[in-house]
């Protein structure tokens, strides 16, 4: 009887570690850039959450703002 009891106690003690939360290091999940920002500085002309719309907007912005060869005579 004592042997069985001590075995149960030992098993319970050994299994308590299984209920502990993992302590692994890791990074948080970051929201995608195309999902938009929650402030008043968001540029108009694209739809938050629509990846294609965001990509096209940035492409157009890069061409307009940075490719001066297409703008200069």
């Amino acid at each position: 009887m004592m042997k069985r009891m001590s075995l149960i106690v030992l098993s319970v003690a050994a299994l308590t570690a299984c209920g502990e939360k993992a302590q692994m290091l890791g990074t948080k999940n970051d929201a995608t850039a195309y999902s938009g920002a929650t402030n008043a500085f968001v540029e108009p002309g694209w739809t938050a959450g629509d990846k294609n719309s965001w990509e096209q907007h940035l492409r157009a912005r890069a061409q307009y703002g940075q490719n001066d060869n297409t703008r200069a005579p």
């Binding site: 990074t27 999940n29 920002a37 990509e55 890069a62 001066d68 060869n69």
Partner: protein, 209 residues
């Protein structure tokens, strides 16, 4: 979209430090921390070249490889970011980075070194996009606002290009063709593993010339 990249056109950079100022202003970066800086080679010698340097968001980022607490992560657009809640400020990334990008604020008590700070490609950090918490830790998240990095958008001579790798490479290529010189893309080979103009061709064994 391919991935986000920086190009600094050394033929155009005039060392005005507009990119440095734009970055510091946009993100309210503290004293002693320069996420971006301008380096001039052969300063004062005719033919000097200046280049604007910051984190290049490498394809195979060495900072990510050496970080002992795994605080770095890469976004879908290839932007290398880090989590300041995990960073312990050990400085390993600073030794590993070929561009000297990681910065460490030292305004703590007795000048103690703080958590690492670096260019985020104006993409913020793990906090909610555009939130105050994100701004205080990492600066503004311009990508989520539908904008490109402030340094490149403020560049007066458009020497610094930022954006989708395909787009900025096309812009740079058209310039090189037009001016017929200056095809060297500083730092691209180191950051993105691509062979660039001006480098000696790699020797291939077993090929007769």
């Amino acid at each position: 979209m391919a991935r986000m990249k920086f190009i600094c056109d050394a033929e155009r950079c005039i060392e005005c430090n507009g990119c440095v100022t734009a970055c510091k202003n946009e993100h309210e970066v503290p004293w002693g921390v320069n996420r971006r800086r301008v380096v001039t080679l052969n300063d004062g010698v005719p033919g000097e070249k200046s280049i604007s340097v910051a984190c290049m968001h490498c394809s195979d980022a060495p900072c990510m490889a050496v970080c002992p607490v795994n605080c770095f992560y890469k976004t879908d657009e290839g932007v290398v970011l880090h989590d300041k809640d995990i960073c312990i400020g050990c400085g390993y990334c600073s030794y590993a980075c070929p561009f000297g990008a990681p910065q460490f604020p030292s305004q703590g008590t007795f000048g103690v070194r703080g958590k690492m700070d670096k260019c985020t490609f104006c993409a913020g950090g793990p906090e909610a996009n555009g939130s105050q918490a994100e701004f205080e830790k990492y600066g503004r998240n311009r990508l989520a606002e539908g904008k490109l990095p402030a340094c490149a958008e403020m560049c007066s001579t458009k020497a610094l290009l930022a954006g989708d790798g395909d787009v900025v490479a096309d812009i740079f290529r058209s310039r090189v063709v037009k001016r017929n010189k200056g095809a060297e893309v500083w730092g691209w080979g180191t950051a993105y593993g691509s062979k660039q103009a001006g480098q000696a061709p790699a020797k291939v064994e077993g090929v007769k010339k």
